[in-house]
């Protein structure tokens, strides 16, 4: 993917020790504002990798977070953290004044359509974290924006207000869904997405959330395209368990078809996290990991290593 006009090329990543300048809550999530000029160059869709604890920590590996927002003028980068296991619990517990060891900005970014185009943002859980900011960029670039923000329940909805403020102000729709109906309409993000894709205009869908959701978004978009005939280009920000985040460990791979049509196990951290959904081999991506397609380059004879 090449940078569209007006978008800066991705900054060369750095490893920095940076202060947390604000630590508060964003709904059910911890929200951290980190001050660093390099991190502040991040672009929508990119992520940062945060170290846990000090040099005596028993947790050696970084935790990855999508960039919620980056502001090169202010020199800040923001993340939204769900305290899940011990590492994210530690990160979510940081207070203003603490320092964090962060590597970033990392990975690929969302590529918006040219001015006059349309983008639909689809976020599940903390997957919607980057979308208020992404929407801002889109609006600034003259792109029309709609959004779907979903989660399992109301507590896990992320930044609905932020997305609404930007998208609503620009005249776009924001649909909210929860699986259990505790907020917004009951159901899946894909139900809402399908409605937004009924309109027969070329659309870019930018989606971020659990793998199963991303697969469903890809299917929904394909079905809509078939139905309306208008091209729907889907970019998904994938989440694979990552040991390094910088391309040296090969733990984060998933099967993706290349320009040559051949499937390879590519690194989600360097070839992603934003990947063209049409290239992903969804048939081999499951809830707990990805298998190696039998026709992948270098797949073991018989298909299973």
């Amino acid at each position: 993917m090449s940078a569209p006009a007006g978008v800066l090329p991705a900054a060369r990543p750095a490893q920095v020790t940076a202060p947390v300048v604000v630590a508060d809550r964003l709904g059910g999530y911890a929200h951290l504002v980190i001050a660093d000029p390099v991190l502040a160059q991040a672009l929508p869709g990119q992520f940062v990798a945060v170290a846990v604890g000090d040099r005596q920590s028993s947790m050696l590996l970084r935790r990855a977070f999508s960039v919620h927002r980056a502001d090169p003028a202010a020199g800040t980068l923001e993340v939204v953290v769900a305290a899940h296991g011990a590492g994210t619990a530690w990160i979510a517990g940081r207070r203003a004044g603490d320092e964090l060891d962060v590597v970033g900005p990392l990975g690929t970014r969302f590529v918006l359509p040219p001015a006059g185009g349309r983008v639909v943002l689809v976020g599940g859980g903390y997957g919607s974290a980057p979308f208020a900011w992404t929407a801002q960029a889109a609006v600034a670039a003259g792109v029309r924006v709609d959004a779907v923000v979903g989660a399992g329940d109301a507590d896990r909805l992320c930044d609905v207000d932020g997305v609404r403020a930007v998208v609503g102000a620009a005249g776009g729709q924001v649909l909210v869904t929860t699986d259990d109906g505790s907020a917004g309409e009951p159901g899946r993000v894909t139900d809402a997405l399908a409605r937004l894709l009924e309109e027969p205009v070329p659309t870019t869908v930018a989606a971020c959330g659990p793998m199963a959701m991303l697969a469903a978004v890809a299917r929904t978009a394909a079905a809509a395209q078939e139905r309306t005939g208008a091209p729907v280009d889907v970019q998904v920000a994938v989440e694979e368990a990552m040991a390094c985040g910088i391309g040296i460990c090969m733990t984060c791979v998933l099967p993706v078809r290349g320009a040559d049509g051949a499937t390879r196990m590519v690194r989600a951290c360097t070839d992603g996290p934003v990947i063209d959904a049409a290239a992903v081999r969804w048939d081999c991506v499951g809830a707990h990991g990805a298998s190696v397609p039998a026709d992948a380059v270098g797949a073991p004879e018989g298909g299973a290593a």
Binding site: R12, A51, S58, L60, G87, C244, I248, T251, T270, A305
Partner: protein, 356 residues
Amino acid sequence: MSAPAAASVGGATAPDPAAAVDMSVRLTAPAGTVDLAAGVLTASGCAAAGRELDPYLDLTTLGGVVTKTIMRGARSGRPTPRMAETPSGMLNSIGLQGPGIAHFLAHDLPWVAERGARAVVSVAGEDVEEFVDIARTLRAATSDDGPLGRPGTDGGVLAAVEVNISCPNVANRGLVFACDPGSAAEVVAAVRAATDPRVPVLAKLSPDVTDIVAIARSVLAAGADGLVMVNTLLGVAIDVDRGAPVLSRVTGGLSGPAIRPVAVRCVWQVTAAMRAGLLPTVPVVGVGGVRTGRDAAELVLAGASAVQVGTVTFGDPGAPARVRDELAAVVRHHGLGSLAGLVGRAHDAVRDGGHP
């Protein structure tokens, strides 16, 4: 030993904290010697082929980039999940994913050469023939008049070949070369024979054996010019919520600070045997759980001439260069001018009754 490494490499603007210390290390091949800028390298599988680390450290300050083990053809590796974090360590089960030797020689090694760094190329095969094939291909690509420069002696990009006989992930009818003295020796002898005699061949051993000295003896008899110890320990993690193994193929390799005492022990046992005249004396490269210069110093004091920094690089991409500087500080703290002076000192302390 060659001239002080710090003086001759790198172009850091900050004063080099290792400046006063000769951090270099010499490897010996049947027909030459190779001087590495520093006795600190990356570890195989923990630095890809170097390029991805370029934003975080100056590769030329290291002894070299030890490349991800390369095999003959492209390999897709295993399904995911391929990793599990464990206390002070991690399990990995990559399955030697890689592009194959041809792609590596065309795209990866030239980048290292261009960057002015050195490479220790790690090789593996599913059978002896594959090992030999790769070694031959590598030899052909690094001929004296080739684009990658003279191998070994003359400072070309290829500093050494590391023979990965110890990877527990390779499906070889369930057997691992490194666990059997006979097949370990066979592979090392074959790679040694197929490799330029000016390039040292290092054998990388597994700690998952009853008697590591016996394995060391057999690969040294087969012509290894040095030993690398250790590869990962075989481990398993269970996802308690799902009630299933975390890794797609159940077992993985355990690495990180958790295993450092095992790595130090292996280095100790093998170099003790060398000092006792029970094994020929060759350089030992210590690897396993190095997080700081003090950790590296443990391996060096136990007998390693150089160290590799692996897993810790995932959490701290600048680690190999930082470890090099911190290790230099330890050398200085001991009142020594060179890393070589620190090698094996803990054995001397025991011999001299430095114990209660």
